[in-house]
């Protein structure tokens, strides 16, 4: 009996102690991922790759179809060229990479990872998770002090949430003979936080307009447009013109329309939790980003959310109005649907990432050669959040390109093998690999360096038409020199702020709320989020965004 009692007491006490220790000890303070040093680094070995020789991607250990048909490229001379990498001996070491599914980033990570392993003798293990899980997966791990990865692929708009977990990329990679030296200052800015480079910039993005030349440049279509609206047909300068053209040509039959495909006005991202908030930002930007207001696009100087000011409401009103000329099912398009819809010739316009552009320029696209690029439309009026009045922009149109986030990569502070991770990322982004990835639309690698912005590269490398390529390059050059730009809300809680926007915009798009009422609700939620995360914390972080906005 005594023994049984003791056992019973033990059965109660032991679990209680265990649980108490679990609940208290380890987790009272936020886990700060400790810096685990650079790792052993490489040993020196003789080069196995001759200086400046041709790189044949079909002879590499892993050759996906897209790489098999890619052009041969000459090795570069920078620090992480094939030649220089082949002198590093990483045998017996390994790194783990967290990456999205192939092909976007997932495929080049595997491809270059296998080649890096062959050159250095090290091991590169790639874990793929769905794009939507990259964020919670990293949060769960880093917040609880676990860091199973040496390289993580991520998005630059998360910088506010993750910068404390990421290692500062040394300046030698972004200057001098470093692989990222020629990256445009715009993107160098996006990839840094308080002056420290937090992302290894393997990609760079922006949103721009894609339009069908067999409508916009077609005399018959112009006559049709003139007849219907009394206006001249040209590339839309404002969202109002965009909407008018999209509605006029909804149901029109362009000359080059693929058989069996109906023609609509506009393919947009409209699925609530599938990046729809980015479409909204484009629609809103020129109405709400005033070049004369230096106190902020998202918040004013007192951290009052601007998301329900008349500029935002006007943008949302346009967005809602466009529902009438979306293609069939266009009210439930995620990014994937937008890309394939535009790529098969569903619509006149589309306006987000490069993907729809690459898709419609692919040789098997039914509308190849019929698409050109232009900066996203502007607005004929712009809200001034300081005077609380509409301003009329100089020149009649206010432009405010949205430099949307894209793929990037980082090295967790807690990684135990940072030197190898750096060498891998640097190899990934070396001149030759970067050039080949650019020419393969599905890699997700887009132009970001000065040498990428030459027409020749694309016309010769990919056989794109000179005219279309020029329109695209011009667009990107226009963005990189523009003065009035919109950036993501790169503060802690970005996901919550954007989630609130997605909820509100979805209600407005479904007609359950008016744009004003929907955005008022979003603004109320933003105040709540500010309170839970900490107004001062967000305000301090927002200064980083302001710096970009006013650059």
């Amino acid at each position: 009996m005594q023994k049984a009692k003791k056992l019973r007491a033990l059965a109660v006490v032991v679990p209680t102690v265990l649980i108490a220790s679990l609940l208290s000890g380890t987790f009272t303070t936020g886990a700060t991922a400790a810096d685990s040093g650079m790792g052993p680094g490489p040993k020196k070995k003789a080069a196995t790759f001759a200086v400046g020789s041709l790189i044949d991607y079909t002879k590499q250990p892993y050759t996906p179809k897209a790489y098999a048909s890619a052009a041969k490229v000459k090795d570069g001379t920078q620090d992480c060229s094939y030649h220089n990498t082949s002198m590093k001996d990483y045998s017996g070491q390994k790194i783990t990479v967290l990456a999205p599914p192939p092909p976007n980033m997932g495929e080049p990570m595997e491809q270059h990872g296998a080649m890096f392993a062959k050159l250095t003798g090290g091991k590169v293990i790639v874990q793929h998770v769905p794009v939507g899980d990259l964020y919670p997966k990293q949060q769960t791990a880093f917040q609880t002090g676990v860091s199973p990865w040496d390289v993580v692929v991520n998005f630059s708009n998360w910088i506010g949430d993750f910068q404390q977990y990421y290692y500062d990329i040394p300046t030698k990679y972004t200057s001098g003979n470093g692989e990222l030296a020629s990256m445009l200052p715009l993107y160098k800015g996006i990839y840094s936080w308080n002056g420290k480079t937090k992302f290894f910039g393997i990609d760079a993005d922006r949103h721009f307009l894609k339009y069908r030349t067999d409508v916009i440049e077609d005399p018959a279509a112009a006559a049709f447009y003139k007849d219907k609206t009394g206006k001249t047909l040209e590339v839309p300068k404002t969202w109002a013109e965009y909407n008018l053209m999209a509605s006029t040509f909804n149901g029109y039959k362009p000359k080059g329309q693929p058989a069996g495909t109906a023609f609509a006005g506009s393919s947009e991202i409209t699925k609530r939790d599938d990046l729809m908030s980015t479409a909204f930002i484009n629609r809103v930007a020129p109405y709400a980003k005033n070049p004369n207001v230096k106190t902020g696009f998202w918040f004013d100087k007192n951290m009052v959310p601007q998301v329900n000011n008349p500029g935002f409401v006007q943008g949302l009103t346009d967005f809602v109005a466009s529902a009438k000329y979306w293609p069939q099912g266009g009210g439930n398009f995620g990014l994937s649907d937008e890309i394939t819809s535009y790529g098969r010739g569903d619509s006149l316009f589309s306006y987000t990432w490069d993907d729809a552009w690459s898709q419609s320029n692919q040789s098997d696209s039914p509308i190849v050669g019929k698409v050109k690029a232009a900066p996203n439309p502007g607005a004929e009026k712009v809200w001034n959040s300081e005077t609380k009045k509409w301003d009329t922009p100089a020149g009649g149109v206010n432009r405010a390109p949205y430099i949307a986030w894209g793929w990037s990569s980082s090295i967790p502070v807690a990684s135990k093998n940072k030197q190898m991770a750096l060498d891998f990322l640097c190899f990934f982004a070396n001149k030759a690999n970067h050039a080949i990835d650019l020419t393969i639309g599905r890699t997700g690698v887009n132009p970001s360096r000065t040498e990428d912005f030459t027409t020749d590269f694309w016309v010769k490398g990919l056989g794109w038409s000179t005219e279309a390529t020029q329109s695209w390059i011009d667009t990107m050059n226009n963005y990189s020199t523009a003065k009035n730009r919109v950036f993501d809300l790169r503060v802690p809680g970005n996901g919550q702020f954007m989630g609130a926007i997605a909820d509100g915009v979805a209600l407005a798009l479904a007609g359950q709320k008016t744009p004003q009422a929907a955005l008022d609700e979003v603004a109320a939620k933003w105040v709540e989020i500010l309170n839970t995360i900490g107004k001062d914390k967000v305000k301090a972080a927002y200064q980083n965004v302001l710096k970009l906005e006013n650059s």
């Binding site: 679990p15 649980i19 679990l22 609940l23 208290s24 987790f27 009272t28 303070t29 936020g30 886990a31 939507g132 964020y135 919670p136 949060q139 917040q143 609880t144 506010g160 949430d161 699925k271 609530r272 939790d273 599938d274 293609p327 069939q328 099912g329 266009g330 009210g331 439930n332 995620g334 649907d337 394939t340 819809s341 569903d346 802690p492 809680g493 996901g495 919550q496 989630g499 909820d503 979805a506 209600l507 798009l509 479904a510 007609g511 359950q512 709320k513 709540e528 839970t532 995360i533 900490g534 914390k537």
Partner: protein
């Protein structure tokens, strides 16, 4: 070696193992619901009832709960009726029934998260199979995911397809284990099949039916994959359910504390509802002779 020993020997290993696994997550969830753990702040500080207060005035959470009256009750009822019908036929309906038993089980084996993507490829309005077939017979495309009613139907179809076999298998196993005597005497009495069903089969099946319905209600209330892939809770928020809302708030936006709070509330309400339902079922099934 008393019978008390054996009594414990049977129940305790399982019960204790289960408790050992779930006690920490449960206590942790309760504790974290009173903290302020989110993207920018990890750890168990003390936020009191702030999350609970926020939840009580969170309209989205409550409306998502009310939506379950449709999504779990209606789909479970449909699954029960269809599953019972299928089980009756597969019980002793027709000659080649053994083949159909296997065939009708297959949907259950598919991975819901992957099958939901296949359903999306069927119900996509632009290039999906459903509208593609309809257009072949001259019917205008249906807005499968962008209007409230069709979106609800779409989700219902996916759920019924996936989970009816669950009911089917439990009920078929139940039917096959029914004692034969009563059916023989009913046959001798010359009762019609319809009467035999209502006076013998159905009452005998009541306990197993209740078990199956309750477990299905629990699972159906967690409906997530089909909504995530097919409508993303749209149009607007008209197909948003608690599991979906919890996932976006709790995990995607990493509001750990708030997610835990809503999870606990959901747990409490579910236990209450199921207890009441269990009582009702017990009353209803008794007069029928069980």
């Amino acid at each position: 070696m008393t019978s008390k020993f054996y009594k414990r020997l049977f129940l305790l290993p399982g019960l204790l193992l289960l408790i050992a696994i779930i006690i920490f997550p449960l206590l942790f969830t309760i504790r974290v619901s009173m903290a302020n753990w989110n993207v920018s702040h990890s750890g168990l500080d003390w936020a009191g009832g702030a999350n609970w207060a926020r939840m009580f005035h969170d309209v989205n959470f409550w409306s998502s709960l009310f939506r379950l009256f449709y999504f779990s009750f209606i789909t479970t009822t449909l699954q029960y009726i269809l599953g019972f019908t299928a089980a009756m036929y597969a019980w002793k309906g027709f000659a080649s029934r053994r083949f159909f038993r296997v065939l009708w089980l297959v949907p259950l084996m598919t991975t819901p998260s992957v099958m939901a993507i296949v359903w999306r490829s069927i119900f996509r309005e632009d290039i999906g199979a459903a509208n593609g077939l309809l257009s072949k017979i001259g019917i205008d495309p249906i807005a499968w995911s962008t209007q409230i009613f069709p979106a609800t139907v779409t989700i219902t179809i996916a759920e019924v397809w996936q989970w009816t076999p669950f009911m089917f298998l439990i009920l078929l196993a139940g039917l096959l284990s029914l004692p034969k005597e009563q059916f023989l005497s009913a046959e001798i009495d010359g009762a019609t099949p319809w009467r035999t069903f209502w006076s013998i089969t159905f009452p005998l099946m009541a306990p197993i039916s209740i078990g199956a319905i309750i477990i299905r209600l629990i699972e159906a209330s967690k409906i997530f994959d089909s909504i995530f892939n097919l409508t993303s809770a749209g149009p607007g928020n008209s197909t948003e359910t608690p599991a979906y809302y919890l996932y976006t708030r709790g995990l995607r936006e990493f509001q750990i504390s708030y997610g835990a709070t809503m999870g606990l509330m959901y747990l409490i309400l579910a236990i209450l509802t199921l207890t009441i339902l269990g009582q009702i079922f017990a009353r209803v099934s008794k007069p029928r002779g069980i």
